[in-house]
Each structure stands twice: as C-alpha cells, then as structure tokens.
Symmetry: D2
C-alpha cells in the first residue's frame, strides 16, 4: 500500500521533507500540501499533489492518509489535535508544541483516541551512530551508565535572528531527548552554568553548560556552543561503571598533509544527519501505513518542553530547577525504572 | 515513472536485490523473476511478480523495462546479449562474463546498439568512503597519485568451496576496479607474490600480494587475506606527491574497556557495503528509467576480466604479466590520460 | 657540578625517586636518606649515601645541596621550613602541606628568604602531552579557552584504605593544578555534583563530578572515577572560541583482532606518567644546581589546598563554594589576568 | 662507575651525541674527541675533554673506556678494527661499513676477540612504539607475521646532494633492519619497483617501492618517499595470521579547527626519534661499562649492507636479487628459524 501524505508548511524544512518523500523513500507519495503562503505551497507541491487552503482541509481530505507538520511551533497544537480527531498518523517537526500545557492537551487527545498517532521529529534517535551507542549501553557489558557527556557545537548562527534563549529551547532539546533515550531515563532537574563568553557571537550568550539530573541519578553534562566557527560537531560519551562508550568520528577521508593527519568535520546539521532524517521517515511510513506511530512520542515532546522550560528558569535562578512530570500514560510505555 | 524490473537468478544475492528493490528503494517494482530452479523463483517472487520459465522469456516480456542478472557467471553472456538485443537496461552482478572474448562480444553488441545499457556490479564505487576518497584525489590538492595501497581482509572462506584461484578472480577484481576508478587509470600489467602461507586456511593459498602496474606509472599493491579471522577489513590509502588520503575507520562506537580503546570491525561484506548496494541500485534505476546505464560499464567488466586472467598467469610465471586492451570505444568515455 | 641530594621518606614513592636520581638522571647523586623507619632508610640508601637519624640532620648536612621530601603530608611543613631556613632547594611531593594556613606559613618563609626554593610534585605539568596541549592554547590560534573538560579515571582503589574524601583532596588537586596551568588562570570557586553511584567501589562515593569556576570565567568540569576497572585513563579537552584542543590517545600499538581496532589503556599512573616524573626531576636538578626552584611553586601548592578544601565543603553544602586567595607575592610571578 | 667516552667525528651527528652524553644521560662523560677538522673537534669538545690528533690515538688512550664513531662511512672499518684490537666497546653510527667484505672483516676480528664490542646505530630498535609493536608480535596472540608494510616518508631532501641511490643505501637500511628485528627474520632477497615519479624532487628517482623477501617467507613491502612535503611520517603495519599490529599516530595534540580533526606530523627524524637516540645510548652505556655491547650488532650491520647492495642491483636488473649470507657466528646469537 502506498501511503498518501499531506504536508503542512512548505518552508525550508517542509520542502526538504517533500523532496525526501518523493525522491528518496519508497511506499509513499505526497498528495497534498498547504502553507500560510499558498503561492509557496503551490510552488513546492510535487506533481499530482493538491494544494489545500487550510491545514484543516488538508487533514480532513480523503486523499490524505497521514500528515507531516512543518508549520511554525505555535500552530502545532491545533493541527495535531485535528489529526488526532481525524485518526490520522502525523509526523510533527519539533517543537511538538510550545508549552507543557499544550503538550498535555495533545497527550490527552491521543490517549482518548487510544492509539499512538504522533511522532515528533527527534531525528538523532534514527542516526546509526547513536543507535550503535545505545546498543552498547543497553548490552550491559559496561555496567550501568553513570554520566553522559554531550557536546553540541555549531559553526555559526544568524546574528540578530538567533537569540540567547535558543540554545536552551531550540538546541538543548535534542541533547535532552537523546539523553533520555540513550539512558532510558527521565530528566528530574536542570542546572545551567554560563562559562566565559565567546566573542564570536557578539552579544549572544554563548556557550552554555547544562547539567541534566536524571531520575536514576545519572548526570548529564551538555556543552552547547553555537558559534564555534570550525564546523558542526556533535559528540557524546557515556561513562559507565566499567567502561566508556562514545560516538565515533564521522567517516571522513583521512588526509595527511601540511595540516596534519586529519578528518574533516561536518559543515552543518544537514550534512551530519541527512541519513537520520531519511531513516526517521522510513520508520514513520511503516507505522503510518498501519495507522499508528512509533519513535519519539507525544510523551517525549512533553518531556522536551519541560526541560527547555526548566533550563530557561535555571539561567535566571542559577540553581537546580526541578522537573515534575505527570504520570506516564500506558500508551507511551512503562515508566523508566532502570534498576541496578 | 515506475521502473518495472525482471530479476534473473534468485539465489542469495538475487533474493537480497529483490528485497532491496521492493522494500528499500523507490520508483521501482519487481514484476518478473526467473531461475534455473523455478520453485526457488516462485518462492522469491514478490507479490504481483510473474515467474518466467526462461531468462529469454523474462527479458522479452512487455512487463519488464529493465533486467537484473544474478545468475551464475557462465550464463551472463547470453543473457546480456539478449538484453542488449531487446534494448533493455541491465544490471549484471560481477563477473560481467567469464572470459575476455565474451566481454568483447558484449561490448561489440552494446556499441552496435549505440547506447550504454549495461551496469556491472562493482558496488565499491557507490560506497561513501570511497567516493570521498576519490573526491580528495581528484581535487588535486595532494598532487598526483603515485601509489595506492589496497587491503582486502576477509574473516574466513568456506573450506573446500573456496579455491586458491578465487582471491585473484573473485576478490582481486574489486581492488582492480576500484584502483582504476580511484586513479582514473588502467592496469597495464600484474605481478603476484605469495607471502608466507597462513595456517588458517589449511591447504588454501593465502594471503596473496599483488602489484598492479597502472598505465600512468602509478603502482598499486594489494594485500588479499581471506582467512584472517578477526573480521572484514577493507582499507585503502593513496600516496600522492604531497600528501596521503585514506579510507577512515568504519563509524563504530568507540568503546573503552578492558580490551582497550576500540572500534568494532565489520563482520562481512554485507555489513560493510550494505549502503553501497542500495546506492548502486538507486543510480541504476535513475539511468534505467531513461533507457540507459551509468556507473561501471562493460568496459570496466572487460578490464576486470583481463586483470584476473593476468593475475592467474602471474602466479604461475612469477613475473610481470602485461595486459593489452583493445581500443576504448567512445561509448565508454575517453581513454585515461591523466597528464601531469 | 653534581647536585648532592638528600631524600626524606623512603616509602614507595621515595624509593622510586631514589631509583630515578641514581639510575635515570644525570648530574645528580643521592648522598643522604632518612625515614621514620631507619631500617627502611638504610635498605633504600644507594651506595655511598649516608643514613641520617632525622630530617633536620639531613637538611643541615654539608653533604646535601638539595632535598627531596617524600614523607607523609603532615610532616611537610616543618621539613619545608627547615629547608628554607637552610637556603636549600627542595622538591616536595604533593600535598605541599595539609592546610591553607600551613601553606601561607611556608609561603611567608620563602618570600622572606627572597628566592624560590620549593617545587611541588605536580608532575602532569612535565608530561609531553599536556605541554603540547598548553602550547596550542597559548598559541592563541583557537581563541580564548572557554571550557576545559578533564577526565580522571582510575582502575581501582584499595577498598577500606581509600576514603570518599580522597577523590577530592588527593585526586582533584591534579586536575585543579593542571587546569590553572593550562588556562593560566585561578580557581575562584567549586561545585561538586554526585552522579549515580558506581557499584564497583562498594560504599565508596564514586564517581564525582566537579565544576571549577575559573577567575576568567572559564568553566572546568572534572569527571573523577576511581574504580572504573578498565585502566588509568586521563583525558583533557579544551573548548576555545574557534576550536578544540585535546590530549591524544596514548601511543599504544594499534592492534586489530577479534576485539576490534584498538589501543591499550595504561594500567596505572606509573605507566602513564613515568616520563613526566623523569622530566620533573630533570628540571628540578637544573634549577637546584643554581640554588633555586622553578615549576609548580608554593603558590600552586597553596592554590591546590584551597581547591581541595572548597571541594570538600561543596560536597556537604551542595552549592558554589567561593575561594578567596591572598595577594600573590611577586616571587611567584604576576597574578593571572588573561585579557581578551 | 663512570664510563669515559671518546667521540670520533664531531659533525652534526657527533655534536648531537656529545650533547646527549653530557647533558642528557647519566653514568657517562666525554673525555676525548677527534675529527679530521681539529678546530671543529676543539670547538665541540665539552669541558675537560682532550682533543686527539687521530682516531688511533683516541682509541688507544687510557682515558677512553669506550668509543663513539661518527666519522664518515669509509673511515669506519679501520676505526672499528682499532677499537676491537684495543678491546674497547664501540658505538658506530650507520653505515657500519661500506661493503660486505669490510663487514666480514670486522665480524672476523670481533669473533676472534670473543666478545661483542660493536653496536651499530639502528636507533629505531630503541623507539618505544617499535618495541611495543615487537612485543605484540612476539606475544604470538595474532599468529605468525606474514607481511609487513613499512612506510618511510620524508618531507624533503637537499636537491643536488641527495642522489637517487640514497633511498636504497641510506634510507632502506632502516626499514630492512627493523623488518629483520620485528620479524626475527633475515632478508633472503630484494625486488625494487619504481612507481610513477614524483615531481617534487626534480630529477631525483622518487618514490621507491621495495619488496624484501624474508627467509621465513614473510613478505615486506617498503614505500620510500623522500620529498613528500608534509612531514616525516614513519608507519609500520604487520599482518599476522589472525590480526594486525601497527605503529600508532604520534602523540600530538588533537586539534579540531577549520582544518578538521587532526594531529600534527613530525617535521623530521630528529623530532620523531629523539627519545630513541637517548635510549639507544642508555643501553649502550650499560653494556659498555661491562666491557661489551648489546643491541644491533656487526651481524646486523652486515645484513643491512647486503640488503642495500641487493636493492641497488635490483633497480638495474628489475628482478629478484638473492641475498646469500655467511653462516651466523655464535657470537651473534642463533640463526633465525621462526618455526610455525
């Protein structure tokens, strides 16, 4: 069966997903698009796709089996609720929603529907390096994970457009989600420390150093540097009881020349995670064809929102900001309880 | 347009390509299969595919736009000629054919047809690591390539089934093809040296050390070890005038434990080249939809056959075995002439 | 000129330094030894060396040009003061002394004497890897250092003998000293976080995660794991404004076998730092022959004591513990002021 | 006991060894020097050393316990024979002598004397990386060594002064000696292949690719590139029956910046082997004090001469050049017979 997909939002990321769904992946076709800018929607629409005036019209259309949401964050809640009301599987780019309350409303609707429909766009979980890393940890040969060192370095951000809150509510959510997933854990509290400021970003607050206190007691530290000039460098290292497991270098050609023995660093997130995005949608399609969703859930989007909120509070307070989650609905699996 | 593909030969590799064409790739469907064992063909046929009694019937069918040949080597020539006669694009697993004469006959037919139709299964050319390596060399910043060190290590081969000729006519062809491609060069002659024999393979002649003398004067040395126990380890390093470029470690998790600071080695060629196989077919499909072929050509299959033949002669003679190629038909591009 | 050295304390480390001074290094001879256990002193004394009954007798002897203190910490202050009173250069194993007040008294005496006489045993500063790392940072091509990630992993500690305070007052001092030296900075305050406890050490509190807030604003995080089983693994990575500089893997043979592509990890600090200890004494000898001292100073010993004290307080308080240092005497160089 | 050493030849390398013997190492003093240029000898002589008019006078002096020969190659034979006649241990820089016949004469004299006196300057055997590599191979866990890939890359050679024979009679000898030592084997024959010429060295024949056929059947391939611009890069990899052992990267700081993730390459042999030279003399001193020599022997110098001669013949002949050694005198240990 061919999955017929409607795409809401045809900006840069929406266009890239349309390319992916039409040129790269199998078993799927884009039959519908919409955007607040209908001309942009029309121009992004692949052959045979219908342009809808509104998200609701698209979601309700008989020619749409499943929905991809690439609109801006504040619009997500309403669109997600409409998808759930229509019983249609939906892939939603991060952020899931823009407040914990909104996340809870989506969660309630999905639970009431009784089957998972929502997958959130945390693509790192589909990256082969992270998956191998998780397999090593879950394998248990190194003992329990005690610390996770996460490093998030970005070459540059657009001056002016990128604000000092964004490292915490736009970037940190990836590290938080991958920490929860790698360690099979929840974030119980957040601290933020501000190291000496880099002069690379002008007035921008950069870098950030974040501590995520996990429910198990494991400690996650996150370096976030968004103007480090040299490239997009994502690192992760888990310290376990009897050994260490870490992401490897990216598989770049080993060149030896006047600059030494060296491997190139990815330029940006597109280069680094392109295969992960493909894989993310491959698995979404498999589940959507069966009328459901797997992968990062509404619960995970809710958790990410709580972490971002706590991190922003922690910048101001300078102290530990506790995170309290509601009870985990059975729809999203068992609560974590990584016993020793 | 959806490419309708017929698969000839439904053994292990044929089944894997059927899986790839039906589950992994887009824009393609398997509409026909055949095999000398029709029961096996029937069992391998995906939903909706027709089982043909003979390769010729499959090749001639209106429901087949393009053909994938996974039969055994001696059957390739006839099947390739039938595809060319039918004007249908064809992917042929290596070996293209089993003699230089047969390769020339296929070449003649394809040239008479006037458009490339054949792609040979040298999947390494589609591997991201090799592609990046070639990009560095072609970039020219390291000067001209002078030597290429190619290492081909295999964990084990089936005792009895794998003969002492196979490292040269089954394995070396990959190193020869990738050398020609990486260096944009041809093989002008071959020498083989037999190092101290490994006790891992019983009576089997192993390892082999091969020198490929390229037309440009560049020298390629190839270590072939087929019973090295620890894994499937493919390495390649190009020594240029002012620098070195080499394949990187595979992107395995970096584990530090009682066995040291380490990365796992692939178990076998499936693990190592799975993405390359996917990419190989992606590009084949793009060309086949347009009624032609790109990638490794009949000329490349011809060259590989000559190298394997020369290498087998060189084992017996102990000396340099010259390779003489026919003039290169324009269909296959310009003759190499990598000027200084 | 041959430097004549008296060694106080002939336990394990004292014996190792006697071996170093007699068998490895040039321009030096051990002419005197003493120990609280005189039989042990006699047995450790190299040929031609005199055994003294007391540290004071050894320090005062005409046959002793310079002194090496390897006694236990609480005895250091008196012995250091005696050396300074005698105007003799002295190498003192860490800890310099066991309280900030004692450090101030030694500092006062040395300043009153008017010339540096004391070198403290922070051997990491003499390690070639750390020296190259500092050269890169000081070179300035990567911009200012903003964060330093220091990792201190030890295979195991003796159960019972090693207490939960020791990671902070015995181990952390090395990370603190090397941080001050690498970054040309001072520690302005300390926080300690206790990650999930490892089951490797029974009741022992392990691991520790420490934050050193440097005067410049740079942030240092230190992972201390003392029962990690797999080896002695010292890592360090400096995040600067436009690049990263890190300690390399130790130069172990690259083995590829069934355990992967790998390099061994040092077993313990002796293996890791043996050359650093040699170099430490080489430079001490050069200065001592000239009647003075270079390398880690009384000031550095004082700073280390303050950090250890603050770290122990921070475990209990759970919050930032500020460090206040006295004005830096001119004898120890300019106060740090790493301007942008 | 203090070893009193006379140094013959005070050119660049002689001066460096005088520095080493006086400033770096213990248990040794330079009491005598000579040179064909007596003014140079006088200027190089350390405090307290006597300048002798002739090598023979220096060798015969009562103030000289052992001799270091750094004169030019053609003078070595006579000086070695004089040392042996005087029963004095002697360190001789490579080449031991300049012909196989001369080597045999020195060997005969040393055997007649009845005790080893000669150590040849193959410093790689004292390099920690090579020693660890040998330990892994000798440990036997990887099975027998079947191939050794040796890579010898030099940034540049002085145009005009450095001739096309020198890669074989000056450079290859190091690879040959280290191959014999690593594999506990002898060289039974040599082949030389000339890859495409680098344009870096003008008319100079460069690079060379050499095959050493070892007595055991193991095959050694050597890449020699002497004008590769980027640095001094010495690599070695042993392919064994069930695994691989290789020299690691040099322990340079890992820098990540706009040039990638990288480590610097040594500039030249001084930087690369400085510790090996020190260790070479440390061990020489220990043996010389006891009136004998260990380390690379006259036999090893003889073997190196045979390899260089055979390699030069092989360039002209283009074929395998067999090496025939005399029976190995018992003084130099058992003949190699690395049985399976």
């Amino acid at each position: 069966m061919m999955l017929r997909v409607g795409v809401i939002g045809t900006g840069m990321i929406g266009q890239d997903h349309i390319r992916r769904l039409t040129k790269v992946l199998s078993g799927v076709q884009v039959t519908a698009v919409t955007d607040i800018d209908l001309a942009r929607a029309a121009s992004a629409a692949p052959e045979g796709a219908q342009v809808f005036d509104t998200p609701n019209a698209l979601i309700g259309s008989d020619s749409v089996d499943a929905v991809v949401i690439c609109s801006w964050g504040p619009a997500h809640e309403e669109q997600l609720l409409a998808c759930i009301a229509a019983g249609k599987p939906v892939f939603c780019e991060k952020p899931l929603v823009t407040s914990a309350e909104a996340a809870l409303r989506v969660m309630e609707a999905e639970c009431a529907f009784g089957r998972r429909l929502v997958q959130v766009g945390f693509m790192r979980r589909f990256d082969a390096d992270y998956r191998r890393l998780k397999a090593v940890i879950d394998g248990g040969t190194l003992g329990l994970p005690l610390m996770y060192h996460s490093t998030h370095r970005n070459a540059s951000v657009p001056p002016g457009l990128y604000t000092s809150e964004m490292p915490l509510n736009d970037t940190l959510v990836h590290d938080a989600d991958i920490s929860r997933w790698l360690l099979s854990d929840e974030v119980a509290g957040v601290e933020v420390r501000l190291p000496r400021k880099s002069r690379q970003g002008g007035e921008l607050r950069d870098p950030h150093f974040v501590l995520l206190h996990m429910a198990s007691g494991a400690l996650v530290d996150v370096e976030i540097s968004v103007n480090i000039a040299y490239g997009y460098d994502i690192r992760g290292e888990v310290s376990c009881e009897t050994g260490i497991a870490a992401l490897p270098n990216r598989p770049a050609t080993v060149v030896t020349d006047a600059n030494g023995y060296r491997q190139a660093i990815p330029e940006d997130w597109r280069e680094r995670f392109i295969e992960a995005y493909d894989q993310e949608f491959r698995e979404w399609i498999v589940a959507a064809v069966q009328g459901t969703a797997t992968g990062p859930s509404t619960w995970d989007g809710y958790a990410a929102t709580l972490v971002a909120d706590a991190a922003l509070r922690a910048v101001d307070s300078g102290v530990f900001e506790k995170i309290t989650m509601r009870d985990k609905p059975a729809l999203y699996g068992l609560p974590v309880s990584r016993a020793a």
